[in-house]
Amino acid sequence: MAETLKTTSVGSFPKPPSLVKARQRFRRQEISLQDLRVAEQEATKEVIRLQETLGIDVLVHGEMERGDMVAYFAENWQGFTESLPVRSYGNRYYHKPVVTDRVNYQGPTGLTVESWRAAQAQTKKPIKGMLTGPYTICDWSFNDFYPDRRSLIFDLAHLVHQEAMALAAAGAEYIQIDEPAISTRPQELDLAIEAMEIVTRNLPAHTISHICYGDFDAIYPALLDLPVKQLDLEAANGQFQLLEILRRVPWPKDKELAIGVVDVHSHRLESVDEVKAGILRALEIVPADHLYIDPDCGLKTRTWEEAVQKLTVIQHAVDQVRKEEGLK
């Protein structure tokens, strides 16, 4: 039987102009929270329609309700305050949270369940439940309360675990716990792994962790110990040099790899041929039925048109590879 080669997406999508406007109007108190939620749901439907039209296999809801992947949780949990914006690159800024008290839920668990459930209702294809991992939330916040990073990370791990369990209970088949900061400090990799063990303990789901823009050279192959089913890594951004690092050890039979094949921080549209070449290189390392193809990272920094174009190139490249390699 032919092996399958699946496509997915990492997380965020660009917010359509109608939602950008609604968010601005909500900030100016011109519309209600309910009106904003309606605008978010409409945008989510559009994101799902696009992915279905393109034929993507495992979908995301696009994170229309979120501004930033860390700030979203900080805004909704206790123990954080919001700082003025800090630049992360180019002209991109984020409100870096400040931990000023013990972190905890503000209300009932399941902060992300409602948006996941609304998105899943739009499609028969699986929608990933999207969470940010404890290590990254800690690393991308100022800590003005906890005596050390470890105690903050572990408190956060318990919160993320409860959130993951709530998603699983709601029916999420795939749960992605993003840990882009995990490659920041190789000496803390074990700590991050320990925290992920808390998050994924007894979690009845297909677990994924997206990691990007780091020093993989320093953390591979130790990264394979991260207790998730699938690692989702970026490769296009570094001209696929990551694949040479992955060649160091045979790819484990019990792990999946999702590999980023288009640079989400560049206006340049990749050609189908270069994306195809990247996929074929990845197939030399990971068998097709353990490989997923996606963009390097969330698409929110692209315009809607750019995001569509990049995803279309991916889908065309995957279709050609499937045909030429006898894959489904």
Binding site: S83, L84, P85, V86, R87, S88, Y89, G90, N91, Y93, K96, V98, D139, W140, F142, N143, D144, A181, S183, T184, R185, Y213, G214, D215, A236, N237, G238, Q239, Q241, D263, H265, S266
Partner: protein, 330 residues
């Protein structure tokens, strides 16, 4: 004791004031033109310099308001290298476009020179240029052309020297070479680094300093690099707690800067604690040979906190000046 900042500063205001972020957004939406964008950048640079004036900094950077990252200006000035994909900048949630070397490097020049000429014209405070050091450039770039580390290093040193030379008549008072990679990564050939940096600094007729930050390996560079042509070493004493004991131990043949103000945490330092830490170093190194500064560019902080850190610098300087020492008030 003198005070300075190290490099970058937030491009947005804490409250009202010129915001480069907003100006770029408006420029991209075509609601303002190039002239207005340029004016905002100048106004923001002026704000950084005014802050230095207000707090009586002895030397300041221009806040590197025009730079996207520490390589940006130099990459624009050098042929056959381009700003490529984003990578994490060491252990920060900040991303730089890594220099991608595509052919033999050659110096074109003009961009950094023009940027600094504009900044000097705005400043009444002595202004320094901040440039990437050759080892950080080498470590954080991608070589698709040389495939020979030594040949690439030699050319990087040469283009950086040409860059530095091109700045000498702009009115800057100092060139600060930033080498966070030497602090951050553990394995370097100390002899090679010393010899290369000596070549880099040789016969450049301007005060030159070396900034080492964001790593625990800073203390091991103090002795070898104290005699490599730099007038002063700026040392991150937050990331490497061995720095302070070393500087307390014996005098160095070079001025020393202490990065005791944490440029990556919002927690405000205690002025009295800082003075206490500085006292023995001032005694050993000599008060006129010691500088205090943040342990990196302040752009990793929100603008209100960045300003607060500059304020702490001046408070500590004032406290040191008035502190009873050696048997009497100064």
């Amino acid at each position: 004791m003198r005070i300075t900042t190290l490099g970058s500063y937030p491009k947005i205001p804490a409250d009202n004031g010129p915001s480069v972020r907003t100006a770029i957004q408006r420029f991209e939406r075509r609601s303002i033109g190039l002239t207005q964008l340029e004016q905002t950048i100048r106004d923001r640079t002026h704000h950084v310099i005014q802050l230095a004036e207000t707090h009586r900094l002895d030397v300041t950077s221009d806040g590197m308001i025009r730079w996207n990252d520490m390589f940006d200006g130099v990459v624009r000035d050098v042929d056959n290298v381009q700003s490529a994909g984003l990578l994490r900048f060491l252990d920060n949630n900040f991303y730089y476009r890594h220099p991608l070397v595509r052919g033999r490097l050659s110096f074109q020049g003009g961009v950094v020179r023009w940027w600094l000429t504009q900044a000097v014209a705005l400043s009444t405070v002595p202004l320094k240029a901040v440039l990437p050091g050759p080892f950080t450039f080498l470590q954080l770039s991608q070589d698709d052309s040389y495939h020979n580390r030594q040949a690439l290093l030699d050319d990087v040193v040469e283009v950086l020297r040409l860059e530095a030379n091109s700045l000498l008549d702009t009115g800057i008072q100092e060139i600060q070479w930033d080498e966070p990679a030497l602090a951050y990564y553990p394995e370097w050939n100390i002899r090679e680094v010393k010899e290369t940096l000596t070549t880099l600094t040789k016969n450049l007729s301007v005060t030159q300093s070396l900034a080492l930050y964001w790593g625990s390996g800073i203390h091991r560079w103090i002795e070898p690099l104290a005699t490599s042509g730099f007038s002063r070493l700026y040392l991150d004493a937050v990331s490497d707690t061995e720095v302070v004991p070393r500087l307390r131990a014996e005098p160095l043949p070079v001025e020393v800067g202490l990065g005791l103000i944490d440029a990556r945490q919002v927690k405000k330092e205690s002025v009295s604690e800082l003075v206490k830490q500085l006292e023995p170093i001032l005694r050993v190194q000599g008060e006129s040979r010691v500088w205090l500064h943040p342990n990196g560019g302040l752009e990793l902080l929100p603008p209100d906190h960045a300003e607060g850190k500059v304020h702490v610098l001046s408070q500590v300087r004032d406290a040191v000046v008035t502190a009873p020492r050696n048997g009497g008030l100064r």
